[in-house]
Symmetry: C2
């Protein structure tokens, strides 16, 4: 596993990493415990402020930790972490320490207490700014307050969940920049 | 362009096509006009009922058409439609008929009045069930009421937007089914 060296990334551009809809690892901390969950139900909601929504099932051990701590780090793994992604998604933090169990390195957040995951190429520190949609839709509205991305990673081999245990890995890129209106870039 | 032959697809499994976060084409109809928009800010919210959320900017011509008609079709294009996806995203329906302009074929919805796009391999008919989050978050909560998917398409070459005019095309698949707990499949 690669322990990425990440640097500050502009909040106004985080859509580049989140809009494509990759599987993310949500890390949390509450009352001296940390946890990680695998998650694919998320959405960009605003550029500035940088808002991000996540659906989280209340059966997840992370649910109460996130709701109470009002913080998380959204980490984006690449395909070299596929076994960890699957393992984390198929185990529960009420019985194991997932950082230890899966050999991942917690990195203290700069703004939030939840730890980032060193082995993910991008980490976004988030604060819960609206909990009102949780009861009806399981929807947490986060404000991303700090972004860390490994500048060395140009075309991240992010992974996408297709259900039934099948993942898709990011493929080739196509640049259509010249076909865009400047205001749409 | 392929005019896909789609058949009924179970609503409880639409996550297979929407969770990976591909660029979608949202089609709408209102007062005798139709429109299409390109969109990547969406999220699965529930299996049953099949709920799906979309962020839509109020500067889009589709915004009022969707809000008033309370219906849409969410169509999933593949990479052979990349030029249409870019063209649709960089033009406005207040000046052109996008179906005509981009040579796409509208197919009447079975449940909703908004037309599906024949050249997309998957189409999901949606009804707006909650408009309350639109003013604050631009978030439309849709219930998918009918799903149509081309059974012939096994690993769709869906496309993902990375910002700045750059798209990523779906790559290889990895099957980790045997590592999943049955209740997580």
């Amino acid at each position: 596993m690669t322990a990425f060296r990440k640097t500050h990334f502009p909040l106004g551009q985080i859509r580049r990493h989140l809009e494509p809809g990759p599987i993310v690892l949500i890390s949390s901390a509450w009352k001296g415990q940390t946890n990680i969950m695998t998650m694919g139900w998320h959405v960009m909601l605003s550029f500035s402020p940088a808002l991000f929504g996540t659906y989280i099932w209340d059966g997840n051990h992370s649910f109460e930790m996130l709701r109470r701590s009002k913080e998380c780090v959204t980490n984006v793994p690449t395909v070299d972490l596929i076994e960890e992604v699957v393992g984390i998604g198929n185990s529960s933090g009420d019985r194991i320490d997932k950082f230890k169990e899966f050999g991942l390195t917690p990195v203290p957040g700069l703004v939030v207490r939840a730890p980032a995951i060193k082995e993910c190429y991008a980490s976004f520190e988030c604060q819960l700014i609206d909990a009102k949609l949780i009861p009806k839709y399981g929807l947490f509205i986060w404000r991303v307050v700090k972004a860390h991305v490994a500048a060395s990673v140009k075309s991240p081999q992010t992974i996408y969940y297709r259900g039934q245990g099948v993942f898709m890995v990011a493929g080739r890129t196509i640049n259509r920049r010249r076909k865009f209106k400047p205001q749409n870039l």
